[in-house]
Amino acid sequence: MKDPIDRAMQRVQQYWYRDGLFEIGAAVIFAVLGLYFYLTATLPEGSGLKSLLESSFVLLIVGGSFLGGWMLRFLKQRITYPRTGYVSYRKRTGKYQWIMIILTMIVSGITAAMLINTPGSLDMMPAATGVILGIILIFFSFRGGAIRFLTLGLLSILVGLGLSMAGFGNYLGLAYYYFIICIFLLLSGGIALFNYLRTTEPPSAETD
């Protein structure tokens, strides 16, 4: 059982997710990914744009992550920090950040190579994606303690598996997966943001 000090420290970690902006930001990235896979699925074979899209997948993931992080910080500065205060979390060491960037690039690269070179594997991509992202979301729920991430994680696994089992593999299945999870993320983040705005005082001009 956690003591009051542990609970206080856990609440500090949960604060990042309290306003729902994390999910709203993630929903935007998922919408972009859904659009990417939809275009890749519907553009004719041999088209220049399709080749360009397939070869820029890694850039999309890395660039999207940086852009998503910037957008999240921007929104927090305007919505969250004036209402309930500013927190700067301890940064991981430079070595950790480089490891995460390299790992992301490797996973993205392997995924892109597999998509291009092994057509048969595409049928299971929605399931694989749903399970991997589901596990990540469930990890967030245990780390931050937000029950809604556990729900989102389970939904991700169900949607991914469901799409693959229903025969929606390939790029189109991935597009549907990202669009569906985008909707769930928007709902989850939207409800959290609504509750946050309803239960907190708007910013005042008073000094500390």
């Binding site: 500090v12 604060y15 205060g85 700067s88 000094t207």
Partner: protein, 98 residues
């Protein structure tokens, strides 16, 4: 009792302990966040922050966000060590005696 007698009383006070627990988890936090999390009044929080600053456990930086004054607090290395030692002492005392 010897183990608990020499406990750091600056840290041991409940409001200051909560402030240190919050700051231990982050790089820094502003006054508004600490006030919301501790439910202390402005005056009370200011008083406790002053005591922690005098003890060398936190540093307080006054800056601006646009035109609005902002007070940022962060633990010093001494403060981080003091909080960690306090928790270790308390845990040791509980393990040995309860």
């Amino acid at each position: 009792m010897a183990g608990i007698a020499d406990i750091d009383r600056i840290v041991h006070e409940p409001a200051r302990l909560m402030i240190l627990a919050i700051l231990y988890t982050v790089e820094s936090a502003d006054f508004l966040y600490l006030q919301n999390e501790t439910s202390l009044t402005k005056g009370n929080l200011s008083s406790h922050l002053s005591k922690l600053e005098e003890a060398g456990y936190i540093e307080v930086v006054k800056t601006y966000r646009g035109k609005i004054p902002l007070t940022i607090c962060r633990l010093t290395e001494n403060g981080r060590n003091a909080f960690a030692n306090y928790r270790k002492q308390l845990k040791q005392f509980v393990d040995e005696n309860l």
